[in-house]
Amino acid sequence: MASEIKQGTLDLINHLPILQVITPMLIAPILVVLNNKTLSWLLSFMGTLICLFISVLLMQAVSDGSTLTYFLGGWAPPIGIEYRIDAANSILLFLISTISAIVLVFSYTSLHSEIPEEKHTLFYACFLLCLTGLLGVVATADIFNVFVFLEISSLSTYVLVAQGSYRDRRALSASFNYLIMGTIGATFFVIGIGYIYMATGSLNMMDIAERVGQLGDNRTVQAGFAFIVVGMGLKLAMVPLHVWLPNAYTFAPTVVTCFLAATATKVALYVLIRFVFSVFNYEDSFINELFFFLLMPLAIIAMIAASVIAIFKQNLKKLFAYSSLAQIGYMLLGLSLISEKGLAASLVHMVNHGFTKAALFMSLGAFMLNTKNMYMNSLQGLGRSMPFTSAAFVIGGLSLIGVPGTAGFISKWLLLEAALESGYWLVAALIIVSSLFAVIYIWKIIEVLYFSESSETYSEVNVLTLTPIWILSLFCIFLGINTSLTVDVANMAAEVLFK
């Protein structure tokens, strides 16, 4: 296998793929040793900044369609573990690193109101481990390694969600529920990997792809694929397997909700995409039928049903959790079209929705800092007393609806175009219906914010909290106007994956 790096040199650039993943992993134990909450915040923040910097470098390196590979310990695949960065995962690495850095800025103030101070160090350590897991899943080209990193991120996520119990004990049951479901998902996934290993004798993605091609119509591989789809379906909250998500998002600390909503489900979806295109043969009729008869209907049900449920939710975090389910439906829909345009739309929407949802959850978090309450009526009159947070919320909401000039519009446009290209008129109409539902639930909140009087007055949150919220909101607008970061890279990624 051709490698573009020179083995044995100590050139830092060549080690970027591994540095991306292990930077947060190395910092995490240091935090526990130091056991100082300000210092651990600072170190985590530095760590995420380094990750962000590396991800930008990586994205630049692969933006021309090339691939960066890294052999762990110098062992060449298929024996050793390979890390492989191309356009498709560089865009996700960028999303995860950016969101984690922004979320950490927000956590400085938000964490004080949600978690006792002596737990902060452990929280940050856990957060960094979760980040490691997510980055690792995306960067690796070894399917067992995917499982390992997935478990690292999942286990730390269960802990992070449970941290919400200092505010509301129900976080514990939400976390436990998530633990059970997540473990079932992981089990399915690892069984799927087992089947593939049984049939091909390899764990390296490129290697498997070659051997699967030679096997032809193989029941074992198909069973493995089915297990992987179900396993990842659980992790990415595909509709009948979504029951863990609303409660986990609702009761987790806001910082965690922000981070998970923007990244975790997208990473699981990325794994599915990677398996379909880089491990299996996407032209295989089994996969195509599975996607057409199973994935597409489920995606559409998610788009419509979750949006309708969101309209009737009074708990704001729950409302946006259901909205996330609907948005995951969009991404799955793009994937289920099995076309270059659909895949690109799906990837673009991952990034755009990541920023949009993070902006929304974060501004909700800022409201909650003041009101200590996450119900709709607690927002009464906040448009006047917290004008900056409210404005950022409105921008995020408009992007979620998909108003032109915002990031959401771009993804919706691409998705509609992809649906039309495949000739699915009805699907295109349903996408639009779903976004009209989004108008309803967003506008309900905006009316409460701006058009009802409040008995209490609050002051605007401090600048350190406002900054990350506004960075995310401006991202929502920036990605709606300049799409070179998203659409160009996603098109390149789709091209690479369809090769």
Binding site: I401, P404, I410, E417, W443
Partner: protein
């Protein structure tokens, strides 16, 4: 100055003025003065664009969002007319709004003027849009920006009205228009406005009919039946908003979009050959008569004017559906003359409200004797709307009748005649009652008088312009023909 900078300036100035409203919100006179100055400067820029326009439809790209999708601007006769219309009426409406907001004791003036100015900026963006995407962008911004204006009072009634307003406008534009736009982009690969259309036969006859429907209904601001409910609902807004936005800027943005899509996307010739708009002629006729009939049943003056607006907007949709040069000319003239006529009527309604707090027509008996200027202005505006000489509105109807003859659709003439009769029946009684009948309540009546000059002067001016348009219509016709809007 280069013409592309002028375009950006006409859009930028009102937006900047809106922000300055926040800076000066402590000092009301300063704030209103700055806004007036901004309105004058915007008008000056629009006039300069009009003077500098050489008939070349060059595209000025601002940013490329995706390959093939740009935010770009261009200048063409229809847009020049629309920007002149909106910016000139903004000056008058602003003067009126200063008097109205203070006279009617409305609250939150700075917020009001902020959104008012920014909505003008998006109207300017609509006028100079160089492609369908840019048009859609500003169209949606206009919907969202005018929401706080409609719900300005903040009462539950205002909120309900605003909700209807937003849901119909966003619902139609996202649900139908966006689908049409993407369909065109997907089939043709471009969204640029090009004279003669860009479709080039990529759509079959049935597909073309569907596409026409997606735009005719999707441009909800044109208030075509059955998507007209938002317009009466929006009447909960303060009167200056009803006057400028819901008689001129927003609704005209709708019919302007209809005409622009007809001329620059579908192409008038290919539309008339394909006959894809024949059904729309019938629907527009129905919309015209239906709204007029409803208007007769309304006792609330603003509601009656709102239904009258729906009826009058039907004329422009009708012009589009007739699909010939005379129709486009008639549509353009209808946009201009109806703007001046209807803004006069709304301002008069507002001035009656400020002076007497009366909103129902049945309570306005005898008011003409104490408010002669207001009622005379109303009379002039009404005659222009009805389409009788010597007011500008008669020309729009004239060209529409000519156009329907050319399209060989004689029944349209009958519809137009009936509509004019209905207009007489629901607009003129107010004037007649105002001047000839005795007031019901003499004790209150003595206290009433014309409100301040801020309020009565602007409608008097727009009424005079309605009158002048009758004599100077030739200039508009020449401008439209010489600069190649119609053959």
């Amino acid at each position: 100055m280069q013409i592309e900078y002028l375009i950006f300036l006409t859009i930028f100035t009102p937006a900047l003025v809106g922000c300055l409203n926040l800076v000066f919100h402590k000092n009301a006179n300063m704030r209103d003065g700055v806004t007036l100055l901004g309105a004058l400067i915007t008008f000056y820029f629009s006039v300069n664009i009009f003077l500098g326009f050489d008939g070349q439809a060059t595209q000025y790209k601002l940013v490329t969002i995706m390959p093939g999708i740009d935010v770009s601007f261009h200048i063409e006769p229809l847009g020049v007319i629309f920007s002149l219309l909106a910016s000139s009426l903004w000056i008058l409406t602003h003067i009126y709004a200063i008097g109205y907001m203070r006279g009617a004791n409305e609250k939150n003036h700075s917020r009001f003027f902020l959104f008012f100015s920014v909505s003008i900026a998006s109207v300017m963006g609509i006028s100079f849009s160089g492609n369908l995407f840019t048009l859609f962008l500003f169209y949606e911004i206009l919907t969202l920006i005018t929401f706080p204006l409609v719900s300005h009072k903040g009462s539950s009634e205002a909120l309900r009205g605003a909700r209807v307003y937003l849901s119909i406008l966003l619902g139609t534009s996202i649900g139908l228009q966006l689908l049409g736009i993407i369909w065109i982009y997907f089939s043709v690969g471009t969204l640029d406005f090009v004279k003669g259309g860009i479709l080039n036969g990529s759509f079959g006859p049935v597909e073309l009919i569907i596409l026409v429907a997606l735009f005719a209904f999707g441009i909800g601001k044109a208030a075509l039946f059955p998507f007209h409910r938002w317009l009466p609902a929006a009447m909960v807004a303060p009167t200056p908003v009803s006057a400028l936005l819901h008689a001129v800027a927003v609704v005209k943005a709708g019919v302007f979009t209809v005409l622009k899509v007809g001329v620059y996307i579908f192409g008038i010739e290919s539309l008339s050959v394909s006959g894809a708009t024949d059904w729309l002629t019938w629907l527009a006729c129905f919309s015209i008569l239906f709204a007029s009939l409803i208007a007769m049943t309304k006792d609330n003056l603003k509601a009656r004017l709102a239904y009258s607006t729906i009826s009058q907007l039907g004329y422009v949709v009708l012009a589009f559906s007739l699909a010939n040069s005379l129709g486009v000319l008639g549509g353009a003239l209808q946009i201009i003359t109806h703007a001046f006529g209807k803004i006069t009527l709304f301002m008069c309604a507002g001035s009656i409200y400020v002076a007497t707090k009366k909103t129902n027509i049945s309570d306005m008996q005898g008011l003409g004797r104490v408010m002669p200027i207001t009622f005379l202005s109303f009379l002039v505006g009404a005659i222009s709307i009805i389409g009788l000489p010597p007011m500008g509105g008669s020309w729009a109807k004239w060209f529409l009748i000519m156009s329907s003859l050319e399209a060989d659709k004689q029944f349209v003439i009958i519809v137009l005649l009936i509509s004019s009769l209905l207009n007489i029946a629901y607009l003129l009684p107010l004037v007649a009652k105002g001047f000839y009948l005795n007031p019901t309540d003499h004790i209150d009546f003595i206290k009433f008088k014309e409100p301040s000059a801020f309020i009565w002067l602007p409608p008097a001016i727009t009424a005079s312009i309605s009158f002048l348009l009758f004599f100077y219509v030739d200039y508009i016709r020449d401008f439209v023909i010489n600069f190649g809007l119609v053959g």
